[in-house]
């Protein structure tokens, strides 16, 4: 233990524990599992249906990014080591978004129609991925602001942060 730690009394220690401690909503998020579905919701349906739409758009965005990652790695195998851990995050995003409820718009299962174009030069290809991550992050921020359900809002904000972080590690 450092001298600093030893000098600090218990009341001061508590605040560090607050920064360090288990976040307040952790319990709520774990307990709720998902936000209320339209079928079971007591409130007005419109915002919840809008949440389904937001979730569907986010699913589509993840699929588009995954397709770009796959095409980039296919064109530039040397970029696999750099992109693979980030690709895995998008797989997790997609799984979480799908696990939060049904997507009744009949879509969200297929990959994007057009195969993404990949630049011939690896640096340019990587820059295109970084740019796509940034665009997706911005869209997730807006979706989080629009979401009615607290869990969806938090998940979308976290995905936005993850993708903003991807952009940083890729540039």
């Amino acid at each position: 233990m450092s001298p600093v730690t030893q000098r600090v009394d218990e009341s001061r220690r508590r605040l560090l524990a607050l920064v360090a401690g288990a976040p307040v909503l952790g319990v709520a998020l774990a307990a709720c599992g998902t936000d209320p579905r339209p079928k079971a919701a007591p409130g007005p349906r419109a915002p919840l249906d809008a949440d389904v739409k937001l979730r569907w758009r986010a699913v589509h965005s993840e699929q588009t990014l995954l397709a770009l990652h796959a095409a980039t790695v296919a064109a530039h195998p040397d970029l696999t080591a750099q992109l693979q851990p980030l690709t895995a995050h998008h797989d997790e995003h997609l799984a979480a978004l799908r696990a939060d409820g049904p997507l009744p718009y009949g879509a969200g299962d297929g990959a994007p129609a057009a195969a993404p174009q990949v630049a011939a030069e690896p640096g340019a290809a990587l820059a295109a991925v970084a740019e796509a991550e940034r665009t997706a992050a911005d869209a997730c921020v807006l979706a989080s602001l629009a979401a009615a359900g607290p869990r969806l809002a938090a998940v979308l904000a976290s995905i936005a942060a993850s993708e903003a972080g991807h952009r940083v590690v890729l540039t």
Partner: protein, 155 residues
């Protein structure tokens, strides 16, 4: 009883009972701790002094903005502690960077709480920006990118 008037929906709930403000207070306490922590980080990063100063300025600004949001909601904002215990000793540039990562990652989790609990668009927007900014700053200090920053282990 049909004569009993229904509670008026526009009656504001007591500020203390607002989960969004409660979460915002926790985030404010986190910003206070970051302002303290970056003083320590900056002292051990002569090569990156400017980066640490910028981060400190950012946290001071957000602390003030968050304070204003809490005051506007009718609550008394939590004050800074006179000092904080460090989770581990900061003795060199590497341990200073590690503290920077830790501060930002934990702050990100506090802001993620606010995103879910916020009852006003202003607070929600502030918190979403907070999660993103903390994540980017954690990576800038050498933190590893993750799938769910702020929610790790909770999705």
């Amino acid at each position: 009883m049909t004569t009993t008037p229904a509670p008026t929906p526009s009656t504001p709930a007591p500020a203390a009972a607002d989960a969004g403000i409660e979460a915002a207070q926790a985030a404010l306490a986190g910003e206070h701790a970051c302002v303290y922590g970056y003083g320590v980080v900056g002292a051990h990063l002569p090569g990156d002094a400017e980066t640490a100063r910028d981060a400190l300025a950012t946290h001071r600004t957000r602390r003030d903005e968050l304070t204003a949001l809490i005051v506007a909601a009718g609550s008394a904002p939590v004050a800074a502690e006179p000092g904080y215990a460090l989770p581990s000793p900061v003795t060199d540039a590497a341990s200073a960077r590690a503290l920077g990562v830790l501060l930002e990652e934990r702050l990100g989790a506090l802001y993620a709480d606010v995103v879910g609990a916020a009852t006003t668009p202003e607070l929600r927007a502030f918190a979403v920006r907070g999660v993103v900014a903390a994540t980017v700053q954690a990576i800038a200090w050498g933190g590893a990118p993750t799938a769910f920053p702020g929610l790790d282990g909770r999705v």
